[in-house]
Amino acid sequence: MLIREVMHLNPISTSPETSIRDTYNLMNKKNVRHLPIIKNGILVGIISDRDVRLATSKFAKISLDPQTQVAEIMSHPVETTRLSEPIEVATQTMRQYKIGCLPVLDDSKLVGIVTVADLLDAMLLMTGVHYPSGRLDVRLKDRSGELAKLTKIIAERNVNIHSILSYPETDGRLRVVLRVATMEIRPLAKAICNADFEILWPKQISCEE
């Protein structure tokens, strides 16, 4: 999945000369937590609602005047991403720098913004249930042909696979969760079990019967 599929287009931005007060009001009004800061069409910084609150807090060493220009407290240079970057790479960037959003640049122009919430939505899309379906949880040996063998058994029973989610386990095996369009999950699981796969759900399947 790519950034262009999950980002927000035409993000709200502000200029470095804007006061902290106006920046705060703009965030409140538009209900956003991050504002890219643009000067002459170029991204020069970024500000979060947390930056604003910390800079003006009564508890801060020097509590800034609300009239101060936002340029004083903005973060720069800015970590950014691009339209065709895979979301897992952008996620790694955000985790590494412990930040909550990335402006999306195309040809040095700001075209979008992606936040942690967008990545959570992407996760929902990948893990969620979008069609009536049952769940099959299988542990695979991490080698070629295993997944093909598994899906062939499902196809032979004329059952549609709505989604496949996989993740590595610590011992080098692959955990695969499939959403399959059937109420009869157990006979299906039995056939898979008989083909020498380890079934984690549905439970209590004995292959032999």
Binding site: V129, P132, N160, T182, M183, E184, I185
Partner: protein
């Protein structure tokens, strides 16, 4: 004023010999009731028309079902959820489905016309049928159309789904409807088809806090169901005060069911059915329409629905099954049928995590009540 609804034409809805949703289940039940000499002559419903169905189903979808049912090839039939293992295409399926929908709609009409107040429809319960596609053995949603009729009549309707699978089709069709409350208790979508029915699915707009779901842990026992009737259904109905209750009485939460994992016994079902009747007597003038539904253990399902029949009709519950009935069906099923109507206890091996399961289920019920309580003031 109790009525039974049935038409032998329901048997047209036959998905094939190896398919678990078999018309044999109702046949076994009726045969058993006849053997006991307690079978009341049922009212025979007519099928609903294709036009009637447009109230709840998409026109192209109905057209596709009707065509496929008469043997005409339909392009992209799979996009309508047909032609797969769960919903195979077979001749006469549309007609069979329309007869069964007709039965549930007739039930609604009998309630509205004050012709009866406790009704058992010996078919229907197609809660997985969606507006524009078939799923989970269901094509046309009889429950939704019956509820819709009552809503058009000006009624508030509550729907209770005790089938082990979430009643997704019915919930979806009334998700923002303020006149319909849907309540479904089921094995959690984390583990079982259709994968939905979470407590945060509370309804939309003016239908908010009128859609209730209790997703249960796999291997849940009967006590959680009784807890649910007391802690969720009772307060919900006493607040909503529906004109009638529609119950999808699927029997697939039984411990022997081959499609799911919950561990109800026939004793639990007896208590559940009695409790539902008690709740309807207290909250909606006893107006209740039961349909059948899931239930895929051929030896348990007819016994569970026999209990439902006995309880609705206020009859004494016999201890044993008739010998001749057992002999007949044992031969057909090639399976032993227990001598007694009720399960032999202990019915199954005790599950070690039972305490944990109970705790999780109680937590879920409390969380649901917490999130709807603010809307129910």
């Amino acid at each position: 004023m109790r009525r039974i609804i049935y038409n032998p034409k329901y048997n047209l809805y036959n998905l094939g010999d190896s398919h678990p949703f078999s018309p044999q289940r109702a046949e076994m039940l009726i045969d058993l009731l006849k053997e006991w000499n307690i079978y009341i002559e049922p009212i025979k419903p007519n099928p609903v028309s294709v036009n009637d169905l447009t109230a709840i189903h998409n026109k192209q979808y109905i057209e596709a079902v009707e065509k496929a049912s008469s043997g005409i090839a339909v392009e992209n039939i799979d996009k309508f959820g047909l032609g797969n293992a769960d919903n195979p295409i077979f001749l006469g399926m549309a007609e069979g489905a329309r007869y069964q929908v007709g039965g549930t709609v007739l039930g609604a009409k009998l309630l509205m016309g004050k012709k009866a107040n406790k009704i058992l429809q010996l078919g229907g319960g197609f809660h997985h049928a969606h507006n524009s596609f078939a799923a989970g053995f269901c094509i046309y949603n009889d429950l939704a159309l019956a509820i819709n009729e009552m809503v058009n009549y000006g009624w508030h309707v509550a729907y209770l789904d005790i089938d082990v699978h979430h009643g997704d089709g019915v919930q979806e069709m009334f998700y923002s409807n303020e006149n319909v409350m849907t309540i479904s208790i089921h094995e959690s979508g984390e583990f079982l088809f259709p994968g939905k029915g979470w407590i945060h699915e509370l309804g939309q707009g003016s239908g908010r806090a009128l859609k209730l779901n209790i997703p249960l842990e796999p291997f849940t026992e009967g006590s959680s169901y009784l807890e649910f009737l007391d802690k969720v259904v009772k307060p919900a109905l006493s607040w909503f005060r529906p004109n009638a209750l529609v119950v999808q009485a699927g029997a697939d939460a039984h411990f022997s069911d081959p499609l799911a994992d919950n561990l109800l016994t026939t004793y639990d079902y007896e208590k559940i059915f009695k409790k539902i009747i008690e709740i309807t007597d207290a909250n909606c003038n006893g107006k209740v329409l039961f349909t059948l539904g899931g239930g895929y253990s051929s030896t348990a399902t007819p016994r569970i629905w026999a209990l439902l029949y006995l309880i609705i009709n206020n009859l004494e519950i016999p201890q044993y099954l008739p010998e001749s009935w057992r002999n007949r069906w044992q031969k057909i099923l090639q399976k032993p049928i227990p001598k007694a109507l009720h399960d032999l206890l202990p019915a199954y091996e005790q599950i070690p995590q039972q305490k944990e399961i109970l705790k999780t289920n109680n937590d879920v019920m409390r969380r649901l009540i917490d999130s709807v309580a603010q809307h129910w003031l």
